[in-house]
């Protein structure tokens, strides 16, 4: 038993859920109904234990990294590494020749199962165990009576084990291991009701899309190995880890094309796991899984693994401003795209799913700024988002539970009287998501947008600095590698991203309150499928909702330095002084080795504080969105159908009606000409011109407009998710299926055909030879003599050569 509290916690946090998963499975395997119905107890208790351990770990890490109390915390942040066992060790696998002398030399391929504790891990652990505990409690009500009750809890236990390991391992291979492990838990849980064809298809889709991301992640790992000769985050003896304190303090990271390649491949992996464009297509389908799963895995925890990974790899990303720009662009674009799709969806869970994609996009937007405030802001948003998005999903689950599994918002409505508590908590979640003061989302969204704002400032400073180049820079700038000519372009792009982020805030508020109004307001409608379920959910489901709602209100403001006395400036090695409005998590996370030193340190000076202008702008955007949504959807507004017609390009076909050609004649002077022509017996000319004009209109104007109106009107594009599924099907799935069939055809007829041909040759030769055996003795004699002559001649030739 380890004495050290941090080690003990690190072992307990993943260990308990794993044990509980085993117990839950045991409950199912032993065929006792009593045990099967109570399979949730081991998991719930284990998760409570993990939560307590995580909270304790958080406390310990905070104490350990506080330089006032612990002199061990160096300027490179705090980390504690706990090695468990050697996974693989291949001695002298690689002779590394690096531009950095300390990296050069023979390297063993040595992978150890190692856990780590630092601020980033502690924060993620608290979030994961907290949400999963509440979700498990909720699910014990929601899944009650399901055939696979025990199976569900066994999977949940397995998932929490994998997820907690994912955030606490200290090695890229192990990160990849648990990265895929959470993926397989997601696969199993999406396809939990495997008899539903949609569910099993969605599970497979999620797994395969993630595999495409993992393809990039794996190559990134290979590149890191060939570049740095280690895959450890931490320093291991003389070998400085990728994210270890010694490398961060020396700043020995490769730059340029190689750094960009590594980062973009890592980003591809993150895009898969965190459902970012272009790999976002799996997450909405994943809503086929049970709703608690959507809340836990597909909103709060697993999908944030990509964000965690990018934040963890901050030093790598700092080495490539180009890659950071791409991270921001992907994030900003995904946020916008998903926000646009969410506007028109009628499936409540899918609205929330696209909202998740969109909010994850925000996090990437912040991470891609490469500012200290951006990385911490992204993580802050991750933290608050976990609470209010889990709340919203569980609320949707509560609704779905009451509606007998129906989740289409057209089939129910006005549920606020029927389900008052669900309604109240859902409203709180909506306010938090929309970013209304003082709910959680307000503070973290401000941190995200503020960091983009900071980035623009930083680029401004850089331009000024370069204009007056006689000054010598005090510290190495992360922007140093950007050529002069590109700096304005960088600034322009970040500006666009800032405004698109604000617009997304408006969209977020709008679709959130659209869904809220459709579900809880209007006349009360209950689908027949609801049956006797149509009542408020039981206490076991309402309690988690209440707790999450409480946190959705306070977690933002509580973690923000609005109180002044809450934190001390010296708490952090990164932020020297406490700024009003800076979130506390930023101070805490700043002691993570990845953030405590290196280039990210030089970005601290750019206003690490609350941005009143940004907050004002985003609040205005949110208010507009909420106002518009409430105006349109509270009560029956005719404007809804007007907007619908407008965005659906309704009536565009009327524009393309070639009847206008005949109406031309009513114009006086045209009429005059045509009448004259007819009078002269040249009416056919009029007809020809008229018909040609009509034909031209039809071909060049109507066809595109009809196409536009019927298939790609803004409304239809949004409703059909911009046709990404169809596009991928047409471009990847279908062609590959045909190629596969063609290969099989080739295999049977060409490859095997050649083999059979070769196999047919010996019998053929045999039958030819057989014809020589004719039984004619004279022929044999002749052949013998001829043969002998040939042999003798050959011999003579041989000797005389």
């Amino acid at each position: 038993m380890p004495q050290d509290p941090i080690t003990l916690c690190l072992l307990l946090i993943p260990g308990l859920p794993l044990l509980a998963a085993g117990l839950a499975a045991l409950c199912g395997v032993i065929r006792l109904p009593l045990l099967k119905e109570n399979a949730h107890w081991p998991v719930v208790f284990a998760l409570l234990g993990s939560l307590a351990a995580s909270a304790f770990l958080f406390y310990e890490v905070r104490n350990a990294q506080n330089p006032n109390q612990n002199t061990a915390a160096s300027s490179a942040g705090f980390e504690k590494v706990v090695p468990l066992w050697t996974w693989a060790n291949i001695p002298h696998a690689y002779d590394l020749k690096s531009q950095f002398p300390e990296d050069t030399g023979p390297r063993d391929f040595r992978i150890e199962v190692t856990l780590r504790a630092d601020a980033l891990t502690a924060m993620m652990l608290v979030m994961v165990t907290f949400v999963s505990t509440l979700v498990a409690i909720f699910a014990s009500g929601y899944m009650h009576g399901d055939r696979g009750y025990w199976r569900f809890f066994a999977y949940i236990g397995l998932f929490v084990f994998s997820m907690t390991m994912l955030v606490s391992v200290s090695n890229f291979v192990l990160l990849f291991v648990f990265w895929e492990a959470v993926g397989v838990c997601s696969y199993l849980l999406i396809g939990f009701w495997y008899e539903k064809p949609e569910a099993s298809a969605a599970g497979m889709k999620a797994f395969l899309v993630n595999r495409v991301g993992d393809f990039g992640f794996a190559i990134a790992i290979f590149l890191i190995w060939t570049t740095y000769g280690t895959l450890n985050f931490h320093d291991d003896g003389a070998i400085s880890g990728i994210l270890g304190q010694s490398r961060i303090s020396t700043g020995h990271y490769v730059t340029g094309g190689l750094a960009t390649a590594i980062c973009l491949l890592l980003l591809l992996g993150a895009c898969g796991k965190s459902a970012q464009f272009p790999l976002h297509v799996w997450l909405p389908d994943a809503m086929e899984g049970p709703t608690p799963v959507s809340a836990l895995i597909h909103a709060a925890t697993m999908v944030t693994a990509g964000v965690y990974m990018v934040a963890r790899c901050t030093p790598l990303f700092m080495a490539s401003p180009t890659a950071q720009l791409v991270v921001s662009c992907i994030g900003g674009f995904t946020a916008l795209l998903a926000g646009l799709i969410a506007l028109t969806q009628f499936d409540l869970k899918r609205v929330l799913a696209y909202s998740t994609v969109s909010q994850l996009g925000y996090m990437f937007l912040a991470l891609g700024t490469g500012m200290a405030s951006g990385v911490t802001g992204g993580m802050f948003h991750l933290f608050t988002h976990a609470f209010f998005k889990a709340l919203l999903f569980l609320g949707a689950g509560s609704v779905m539970h009451a509606m007998g599994g129906v989740i289409d918002m057209r089939q129910f409505g006005g549920l606020r009287k029927l389900m008052p508590i669900t309604h109240a908590t859902f409203l709180i979640g909506c306010l938090a998501l929309a970013g209304v003061f003082p709910f959680a989302g307000f503070w973290s969204k401000d941190a995200v947008l503020g960091s983009v704002h900071d980035k623009i400032h930083q680029l401004d400073h850089e331009i000024e600095h370069r204009a007056s180049s006689h000054e010598v820079a005090h510290s190495p700038s992360p922007l140093a590698t950007i050529p002069d000519a590109q700096i304005p372009a960088f600034e322009r792009i970040y500006q666009i991203l800032y405004y698109s982020g604000l617009f997304t805030a408006f969209l977020t508020a709008f679709y959130t309150f659209r869904a809220y109004s459709l579900t809880f307001h209007g006349s009360e409608r209950i689908p027949p499928a609801a049956g006797h379920h149509a009542h408020e959910s039981p206490l076991v489901m309402l309690m988690p909702l209440g707790i999450l709602a409480f946190f959705a209100v306070i977690v933002g403001v509580a973690l923000t330095n609005v109180w002044g006395w809450w934190i001390h400036g010296k708490d952090s090695v990164l932020f020297a002084q406490a700024n009003w409005g800076q979130n506390y998590l930023a101070y805490f996370l700043a002691n993570t080795p990845s953030l405590a030193g290196g280039l990210v340190q030089s970005t601290v000076s750019y206003h690490p504080e609350f941005h009143i202008t940004v907050a004002g702008a985003s609040t205005l955007a949110a208010a507009l969105g909420i106002g518009l949504a409430l105006y349109l959807y509270l009560g029956e507004r005719s404007e809804v159908s007007f907007l619908w017609r407008l965005f659906n390009l309704e009536g565009s076909d009327r524009l393309t009606d070639p009847q206008w050609v005949t109406r031309l004649e009513q114009v006086p002077w045209i009429g005059f000409v045509t009448r004259r022509l007819r009078g002269w017996g040249l009416g056919f000319l009029v007809a020809i011109v008229g018909y040609s004009l009509g034909a031209i209109t039809l071909v060049f104007f109507s066809a595109p407009l009809i196409l536009l109106g019927n298939f790609i009107s803004p409304y239809k594009a949004s409703y059909n998710k911009f046709y990404f599924d169809e596009l991928y099907h047409a471009l990847i799935v279908t062609p590959l299926t045909y190629v596969a069939r063609f290969c099989y055809w080739l295999d049977r007829w060409l490859v095997d055909g050649l083999v059979n041909l070769a196999g047919a040759l010996p019998p053929l030769a045999g039958s030819l030879m057989r014809s020589l055996q004719m039984g004619l003795v004279q022929f044999y004699a002749l052949a013998m003599v001829l043969g002998a002559i040939v042999l003798i001649l050959a011999r003579i030739a041989w000797v005389n050569w």
Binding site: V177, E195, L208, I219, F222, C743, V755, G759
Partner: protein, 556 residues
């Protein structure tokens, strides 16, 4: 330990004779006896593995036994020995063979009703052959075992196979025999070269370790070396099977009885890879180094092509057969990457493939026993009806698609890592782009692998329940989930699947020295052919290489 290896190899042979004696007692006695013998063999093999010294030098054979076999022929000084021994490579192959044999006996328990004594006898003879191949330390002995394995399998397919069994058996037999004839010529060429005055031999040596060291000192001239390499390649590549020499495999698998498929996929294919590692690579390093890009292209073609064809299958067993082509492509890729990670991954992947594909074939057999069909389209939603079978299926599928935490990941990851390392830093400037393309294509094979396997699982096990109509005229027991015997057939495989997944180091460490020795020569040759290119480092080739390196790594 020396006697133990001898006992391990010969126990199945003795057992086969014993089966013939107990045959009159009936089917029960025969199959229990066969089980006892295979379990006994496995225990012996496990003891051998457990006592394997971790620091054994690569060449030194553990558990070595030898005596002169074909003695002094008057004019020629023949030195053919009966020599058995294990090193870090043979060790795991012997263990895998012994393990899969237990599974094979258990899956045949009810399926084989016709001429059971003969069947189990053949099975044990096959085990004898496999164990012999992997522990033979003499070329003649190796070759005898190598060819001997064909005979029992020929009968297993030809007698107990499905409708098209005769065609499949003869195709399998003739195809592999044709290749191994050339292999024999190649092996003889090696022996005669080592005998020649240039290498200072005074007797015709057939001992594998001795030949390896002789050829390391006196390599065969380049042109001849390539010719010999191609001759060896013919037999080994057909055995693997390497694309495009694989077409006998799906046919043989589909027609073979379950046990035959398990052994064929699990053990016999490995003989090909084993042959490359035992003979081609250490004895003909220059040729191997020169041919590396070609071999890698063939391997990666097999990975992608096998996966794609598997995707188009409508028969479960044929799908898994094609997946073997893809997986063996990974094994060959890791081997021909000639990096420590790649080669060790390759050998580990041989074991992994034996476990996962062996298990999958066993499961297909269990489904077939219940429904008498293997058409994917006739199934659906079996997970509800057969939960335990489905659980195993899911496990073996996850293992097969390289899910971390299970064995397949460890092998594939090491292989791809090794391949990438070769492509990125260990290739000449001319080769680098194509090797990188190979590496990236190979990684994409992992995506395809997940696709066809999960697609199979989804169609057969998920969705609404759909079962093929079982013929009414046969008096079938109601279709039930796995019984204890079937679980016991699969459980040992699962144990190792998880063990290798969690601690591959336990399996990698013993093979370390052996593989290091086997590939040391070829790694040197490859490095000679491709001077190290790394940005910022002055290379011996001077400016040109450096300039191109800069071009490949912009800004670095």
């Amino acid at each position: 330990m020396n006697g133990l290896l001898l006992a391990t190899v010969f126990l199945p042979l003795v057992g086969a004779v014993a089966l013939w004696i107990v045959a009159p007692l009936g089917r029960d006695a025969v199959r229990w006896a066969a089980l006892a013998i295979t379990v006994g063999t496995f225990i012996c093999a496990a003891r051998l593995i457990a006592h394997f010294p971790a620091d054994a030098a690569g060449q030194a054979s553990y558990a070595f036994t030898q005596w002169n076999w074909v003695g002094q022929v008057p004019s020629v000084n023949l030195d053919i020995r009966f020599a058995l021994g294990l090193d870090g490579l043979g060790l795991w192959m012997v263990g895998l063979s012994a393990l899969l044999m237990i599974t094979s006996v258990l899956v045949s328990w009810d399926a084989i009703k016709d001429r059971a004594p003969l069947f189990y006898g053949m099975l044990l003879l096959l085990e004898f052959g496999c164990l012999g191949v992997f522990s033979a330390r003499d070329i003649v002995l190796f070759y005898i075992f190598f060819e001997f394995t064909l005979i029992p399998l020929f009968f297993l397919i030809g007698i107990w196979g499905s409708e098209d069994r005769r065609y499949a058996a003869s195709k399998f037999f003739l195809y592999t025999l044709a290749g191994s004839m050339l292999t024999f010529l190649g092996l003889l060429a090696i022996v005669f070269w080592a005998y020649g005055p240039s290498s200072g031999g005074e007797k015709l040596v057939f001992s594998i370790p001795e030949l390896t060291s002789r050829l390391a000192d006196h390599p065969i001239p380049m042109g001849w070396q390539i010719a010999v390499f191609i001759a060896l390649f013919a037999g080994f590549a057909i055995k693997v099977p390497l694309f495009p020499l694989h077409t006998w495999l799906p046919l043989a698998h589909v027609q073979a009885p379950t046990a035959g498929s398990v052994i064929l996929a699990g053990i016999l294919l490995k003989i090909g890879v084993y042959g490359f590692l035992r003979f081609s690579v250490p004895m003909l390093p220059q040729a191997a180094a020169v041919m590396m890009p070609w071999l890698l292209w063939l391997s990666v073609a097999g990975i992608i092509y096998g996966a794609l064809v598997a995707l188009a299958q409508s028969d479960i067993k044929r799908l898994i057969a094609y997946s073997s082509v893809s997986h063996l492509g990974f094994c060959m890729l890791g081997l021909f990457a000639f990096t420590p990670t790649g080669v060790q991954g390759s050998v580990l992947q041989m074991v992994n493939h034996g476990l996962s594909t062996g298990g999958l074939f066993a499961l297909v057999g269990m489904i077939y026993e219940r429904y008498h069909t293997r058409e994917i389209a006739s199934f659906g939603g079996l997970a509800r009806k057969l939960p335990v079978l489905s659980l195993f299926m899911l496990l073996f599928t996850f293992s097969s698609i390289g899910l971390p935490g299970l064995n397949g990941f460890a092998g594939e990851f090491l292989i791809l890592m090794g391949m990438f390392q070769r492509a990125w830093t260990g290739a000449s400037v001319e080769l680098k782009p194509q090797l990188l393309a190979i590496a990236v294509l190979a990684v994409s094979g992992v995506v395809l692998g997940a696709w066809y396997m999960l697609h199979l699982v989804r169609r057969v096990f998920f969705g609404p329940l759909r079962e093929p109509a079982v013929h009414a005229d046969e008096d079938h027991a109601p279709i039930a989930d796995l019984n204890l015997r079937e679980i016991l057939a699969l459980a040992p495989l699962v144990v190792f699947i998880v063990w290798i997944g969690l601690r591959p180091a336990d399996f990698l460490t013993p093979m370390n020295n052996t593989l290091d020795l086997a590939t040391r020569q070829v790694v040197k040759e490859v490095d000679k052919l491709s001077p190290r290119v790394h940005a910022g480092i002055a290379s011996p080739e001077g400016h040109r290489v450096d300039a191109v390196a800069k071009h490949l790594l912009p800004g670095d």
